[in-house]
Symmetry: C2
Subunit: 163 residues, 2 copies
């Protein structure tokens, strides 16, 4: 099973792809789709995110996707911007017929580090450790994308074990 | 000039299309793209909104679009949901190469009724009156879509007069 984990942000969308086979995990790819104000207006930047995600899906053909839910404490202006990016991400996944799971930030922290209030650094360290990477994935958004994918793997494995 | 006005919501996206020619206004169409929980998950419902807007654009070929900005006072959960719908709407407009203007709810009320704190009913009455319609456009979201289109016309005309 190939899992695409996504951390949607206003300017940068982080992603991480992992393969699971017989309980063994392997990193396929990770990175970020970034847009800058000079790329154009909001609509154009959403188009870049959408096209970037379509390219990712076409290249790596994930079986399932997991997307981070918005952190509730943020203000409404941030929420609507992240929401817009999430909208085009969910659309690209729906168009490709890929099922989407959603996990809150505390769930992701808990799942990856065993601790719902873990720091960003702790989560990144655990992502590096679990996936046996030589260094912490950069940018931070990419590490977050891998953390989301790992979270989905943990929930999926849990379901298999207890079904 | 044909203006497409859009009022994005979580389940219902209202729209109104007006034509302006030599200072004369005419309503072309109005209505709403609605989705219900039974239509599927969030991603599927965003896909319905996206496809509905693509159909509207293909059918009516607007020259320009205007979209209502989010009301700032709402909570973050609502903001992210409206943001997701806005995201796929802005994407459909960008894909069609249609420029997008954005107006806040007080600007729309001020522009249509002369009063930034106007009630929904006052705005609807003015939409009906300005566009010489036999009745108030239904659903409410469609009337809001027409109000957004009218607002863009007012701003556009103002620019022409004072350029």
């Amino acid at each position: 099973m190939r899992i695409l984990g996504i951390d949607p942000g206003t300017a940068t969308v982080g992603y991480g792809l992992i393969d699971e086979k017989d309980g063994q995990l392997a990193v396929v790819a990770y990175g970020a789709i970034s847009t800058k104000p000079k790329d154009g207006d909001t609509a154009r930047r959403l188009q870049i995110v959408y096209e970037g995600l379509n390219d990712l899906i076409a290249t790596f053909k994930p079986d399932v996707a997991a997307v981070e839910e918005l952190f509730f404490g943020r203000n409404t202006t941030t929420a609507i911007k992240v929401g817009q990016a999430r909208g085009v991400i969910l659309l690209a996944l729906a168009n490709a017929g890929i099922a989407v799971a959603e996990y809150s930030p505390p769930k992701i922290k808990e799942s990856v580090s065993g601790y719902g209030n873990a720091s960003k650094q702790q989560v990144q360290f655990m992502v590096q450790s679990i996936l046996d990477l030589e260094e912490v994935p950069k940018p931070d958004d990419a590490a977050d994308g891998l953390a989301v994918a790992l979270t989905h793997y943990q929930y999926y494995r849990h379901e298999l074990l207890y079904e």
